[in-house]
Amino acid sequence: MDFNTWLTGICQFLSKYSALFLGGVKNTLLLSLTAGVLSILVGGALCFLRMSRIAPLRWIANIWIEFVRGTPVLVQIMMIYYGLPMIGVQLPVPAFLGNAGERAMYGILALTINSGGYICEIIRSGIQSVDRGQMEAARSLGFGSIRSMLMIVMPQAIKNILPNFGNEFANLIKASSQVMIIGVGELMFSYNTISGTSGRAFLPLIVIALLYFAMTFTVGLGVRALERHFRRSER
């Protein structure tokens, strides 16, 4: 097989399956973005519990975080997918998810629960990286704890938090490949379809690896730009 026919073969393969690949990319991004936004909300709320003065609330957050960190994402996804219907929970399906929306919702929920745990820890460590004296100074001026947090601590903590949000988002993109197991048509699922119909195992794998890499690398570039920006504005 000479080089030209080899290259033509690859080009034909790519053009034939490009729609499937790109559809997978689109769904992966949709899944990750939705779960990403939700996990910031969930993580923030979880962080409130985690740093609460009320012990049982802290326990809830701790159990959540330890569970998320101590078990595989795949197990978490399957637990949500099989577990929720067993206890009779129906998830609402927003229109933008299309006709495979219900499975996707389980996937998004599982990824949100997972990522929310990590986001909580990112926010917490960001807040704790701010010198305790900042809180004390704000409180001693007479600001309440919430206002001190919002006006003094958070603006400083955000420099540590935002870049790590980016890193977590890249992790989320990679972790989203595992919702394939419950039949959500994202990029990894596209691979399965393509390798099955084309009979080629390795070539599509390289393609999706490159696609995943392109996505996470772009996020990584954003993170580094953000870090540079914060370092420059550090006075």
């Binding site: 900042q134 004390e136 100074a137 001693s140 007479g142 600001f143 003094i152 006075r235």
Partner: protein, 272 residues
């Protein structure tokens, strides 16, 4: 006075919640602004304060001295409740700040605090650091707050620094800004927690000057410091602490020239 207030400190939180704090009249000319009664503070198993009693009247300049670990800073931090206490009580204008219904934020607005490590807000300019309290807590209009900041900056000799960020300032300048920030709330009393201990030696003088100026203007101050010359000059009362209790207190003259307590004599012998 002592008997009267001691009685209050025997009320439990539950009783106060049920019956409310007993009514009292506060006479600013005769009653202490700040009263510390039988104060006990523990960090885990380490007892830092073992029953401290202190009265600070309006216009007093009380200087706390003593070896490190003696509980001076902790005492100061208990006065605006940056630390929780395990026993005794702290009264501000005769009312407990640790028991019963307390408007803690309101009281803290009236107690200025200056920290060893300045704790300026690094993401805000000098002017914003100073005006933050008045603008948000006093609802002062921005232009009025800015004028106030300018007056205070002139007072501490840093009028040209209003648009600088804290990281662009020297330690001495930072501490003077921190004093201006506390003054912006027009407090009734100022607490200084080792304000010159983190400074290079050549910057200590400029901060002490500002503090002397404040003392001359009649500000009530409680100061933890190792600057004995300063203590001698401005204090109306010097308090020597060691091992979590007040060992001796009185006028600077009495403490520095005729010390009686053994610990104080050896402490002064080491540092003078």
């Amino acid at each position: 006075m002592a008997a009267h207030t001691m009685q209050i400190s025997r009320f439990t939180k539950k009783q106060l919640a049920l019956y409310g704090a007993p009514p009292r009249t506060f006479n600013p000319n005769t009653d202490p602004l700040i009263t510390v009664l039988d104060l006990h503070k523990r960090f885990k198993n380490l007892e830092v304060l073992k029953g401290v009693e202190l009265y600070v009247k309006k216009g007093d300049v009380v200087v706390l001295i003593g070896p490190s670990g003696s509980g001076k800073s902790t005492l100061l931090r208990c006065i605006n409740r940056l630390e929780t206490i395990q026993g005794g009580d702290v009264l501000f204008e005769g009312n407990s700040i640790t028991r019963g219904p307390v408007d803690l934020n309101g009281i803290r607005q009236r107690i200025g605090m200056v920290f060893q490590h300045f704790n300026l807000f690094p993401h805000l300019t000098v002017q914003e650091n100073i005006t933050l309290g008045p603008r948000y807590l006093r609802k002062m209009p921005t232009d009025e707050a800015n004028a106030l900041a300018e007056r205070l900056l002139t007072r501490v000799g840093l009028a040209d620094k209003k648009d600088a960020y804290p990281s662009q300032l020297s330690g001495g300048q930072k501490q003077r800004i921190a004093i201006a920030r506390a003054l912006a709330m027009e407090p009734d009393v100022m607490l200084f927690d080792e304000p010159t201990s983190a400074l290079d030696p050549e910057m200590v003088g400029e901060v002490l000057e500002v503090m002397k100026d404040l003392a001359r203007d009649g500000m009530t101050m409680i100061i933890v410091t190792h600057e004995m010359g300063f203590a001698r000059e401005v204090a109306s009362k010097v308090v020597f602490m060691a091992d979590g209790i007040i060992q001796e207190s009185g006028t600077p003259e009495k403490l520095f020239t005729h010390p009686k307590n053994e610990r104080l004599i050896s402490f002064l012998g080491k540092i003078l």
